[in-house]
Symmetry: C3
Subunit: 319 residues, 3 copies
């Protein structure tokens, strides 16, 4: 693996899941793999789990992790080619990225979408330019349209919670929220479940919330949440803003919030969420505080997902 | 020790003081005790000495310390049970804390009081919920009402500066300030000196600045600063806002500022302050720059206090 | 070396350049020199290269680096002697610095000039007070008037790119900018090139942009950029605000921007800049993206410069 921006960078998803599980069983099994190596983690946006789990994963591989808050500790970067930089941006990614490539062995980046310009967001202009100019492996800590470390942790979580000799039914359901959120987690989860191919996958959301087909292709898509939830083994709850009417909050229909009542029609489904979750808006206390919820275990798995990815990049680098 | 939120968590204060002194004599005596362990330090509020001394202490024990500025690097947390989170808080402590409990071996938290709602502040709702939901030992880096790492360093400082075969007279005196400050340091110092029981302890302040009796019980309390200072061996200078008229700045009476003149009536007293100190407001240059001041040594002892506490928690964890 | 605030702290510049080159050839050649030592890096202002390269350098010497954002993670410091601190500053450097001196083995500080009060800026009041009160070696991460780690990296870059048996012609040229910048990088480069004495050194800028003579003395100074550039081997491009009309942006004359056309009269000159650079304002894309530009290698050399400096301080400390 030379970079980790999406499921497309992974040749063998089940093997990567197993690697994560192996690290979970034995965190320090490769405690010196990363000796003398450094990962630079650049945050253009806030992060809790991703930031901390990446630091933990790096440390368990014996690698140095250096955190940098781009806006607060540095300054605004320019991403437009040929820009006459007489405004508020202070440094071009063309100049910053190659230097980061000299300071670090792996570069990890968190950057959110604007939710204003769909074409720009979906071009993944920011992270793509870091890849282009850094000259070292780049790991996404969530980009404008995807969140692959989250999705890998999601598949690890499903794998470890499902022991039956059949395919699980996995449902991704839209949930209400008070503000417009990126489509990243949902796009990415859809992309990974489809690439994995080991689940019956249903996506449900109100009209107007269709995700980009590139990611959902292969899944059953329905606006009927009740039908979608029937016999579900796993329900991934997530809000996202509209892709069609880009970045808009079309509906905040509270009836889409998952309840214990709705879980009755499922196969005693386990409930997932990437967190942070707005309690009693996206997901009710009664579900989150019930044994159905595996959101904590899911977030815990972020460490092992990150460790599996960093490990594979480090091993590839040594070849 | 399973947590470190107040003097009540310590069974043997003199032993903990000795442990701190042992680390001061030999910082790396247990350089691999914390190997493979991680402390996550969450800052909901600013910190200099506490932050840095905790990092230093962790490192000297071979432990990884990961710093996280909750507001700036993450987002606002919700602490109200059952909240409908449609406002500005993004994540509930119920969801964040258990995950931190999976990423770290020890969780350390800094959180200031609002100074607006006494009942809420004195319930220690924030740190208490981290304790409840994190499932790992929690260390206070100063909470709404107490600052135990400071107080332990204070007792280490008194111990190492007093060699006479009698009890020292220790005076905690209120000092003027330009803004309303928490009662934490004063509450905590009172609690620790009383629990320690090895000093004659006097608290002096203007009327209306009575601290909560729970912490001061056992001390002599007087509004007569001159009487209080007489024959003092140690004078702890600190401002705090009113507990009764909660969070109010009732008086900024400059005559309460300690001067060299006032020190004449003391037993050549040593002057302490937790820092940061507003020079020439809380304490005059003439005192701070005189040999009476031991504020630097006191702040230096923060490292050894933190190291003693982390060490005891690590040792308890290994059992 | 007991501190590193300017070229004046270095007794043998060529030896320090060689040390940096040795670390570049073998980064981990002294991987345990800094074992058990800690550098505290205080940022009163933003930083990217300096911050990251210092962390990398420290790690490669086996030293712990602790970063602290003074304003964001702490509070405003007071630098005026005798101040009555009833305003917005919370802690005096007199109180903070000695404690940092107890927590760390080396203290590194980044602090920008106000550009409002020349006398104050050029007194280097901030970093000087840290030196005075910290009691440990202080390293400048850029101060009000100088940026020595940058300059050392600059000399390393010139040395490694020039192999002819003659003195290189090095030109420092002013460049346009949209905002008023400090004189630090230019002062410092001038000071170092002059102290090094191994180049023919020309400084060119519009009228009114004369740098302080203390730093430039020994260089040829001209307002004729074309004449200056003739036969140049290295061109250091940098904007600075006026020293005479202190902190003013007198001219933003675009004709001073370096172009490929202007490079024709040079000895196929290599172009340097400390970065961040405002593209197409200070320097055109055509130059930055051409083989003339060595700005990336130059910034890469920041690591080895920092490592050479920290190494010398550590070695001195062990004596």
């Amino acid at each position: 693996m030379k970079q980790f921006l999406s499921a497309a960078d992974v040749t063998d998803i089940p093997a990567l899941i197993r690697s994560a599980q192996d690290y979970k069983a034995e965190p320090y099994r490769h405690a010196s793999l990363g000796k003398g190596a450094r990962i630079g983690c650049l945050f253009l946006n806030p992060s809790l789990r991703t930031r901390l789990s990446t630091q933990v994963a790096a440390q368990q591989l014996g690698m140095e992790a250096i955190m940098f808050n781009v806006g607060a500790e540095g300054w605004a970067l320019e991403f437009t080619d040929g820009a006459i930089m007489n405004g508020t941006t202070v440094e071009h990614v063309k100049d910053a990225a190659p230097i980061l490539g000299m300071y670090f062995d792996i570069l990890a980046i968190r950057t959110f979408p604007s939710l204003k310009d769909r074409e720009e967001d979906y071009s993944e202009r920011y992270i793509t330019q870091f890849v282009k100019y850094a000259g070292i492996p780049v790991v996404s800590l969530e980009s404008a349209t995807l969140h692959p470390l989250q999705s890998l942790a999601d598949l690890v979580t499903i794998t470890e919670h499902f022991r039956e000799p059949r395919r699980p039914k996995v449902v991704l359901t839209w949930a209400p929220h008070v503000k417009a959120l990126p489509q990243c987690v949902s796009n990415s989860f859809a992309q990974w479940v489809n690439a994995w191919g080991a689940a019956d996958f249903v996506i449900t959301h109100p009209e107007g919330y269709e995700l980009k087909e590139e990611f959902t292709k292969g899944a059953t898509i329905t606006h009927d949440q009740d039908a979608a939830l029937r016999d579900a083994d796993f329900i991934y709850v997530k809000n996202w803003s509209s892709y069609e009417q880009y970045g808009q909050l079309l509906s905040t229909d509270e009836s889409w919030m998952l309840t214990l009542e709705k879980l009755k029609a499922t196969n005693d489904a386990l409930v997932m969420h990437c967190l942070p979750v707005r309690r009693n808006v996206e997901l009710s206390d009664e579900v989150l505080d019930s044994p159905h919820s595996i959101v904590t275990q899911q977030a815990g798995n972020r460490v092992w997902a990150a460790q599996a990815v960093l490990s594979e990049i480090l091993q590839n680098r040594k070849k």
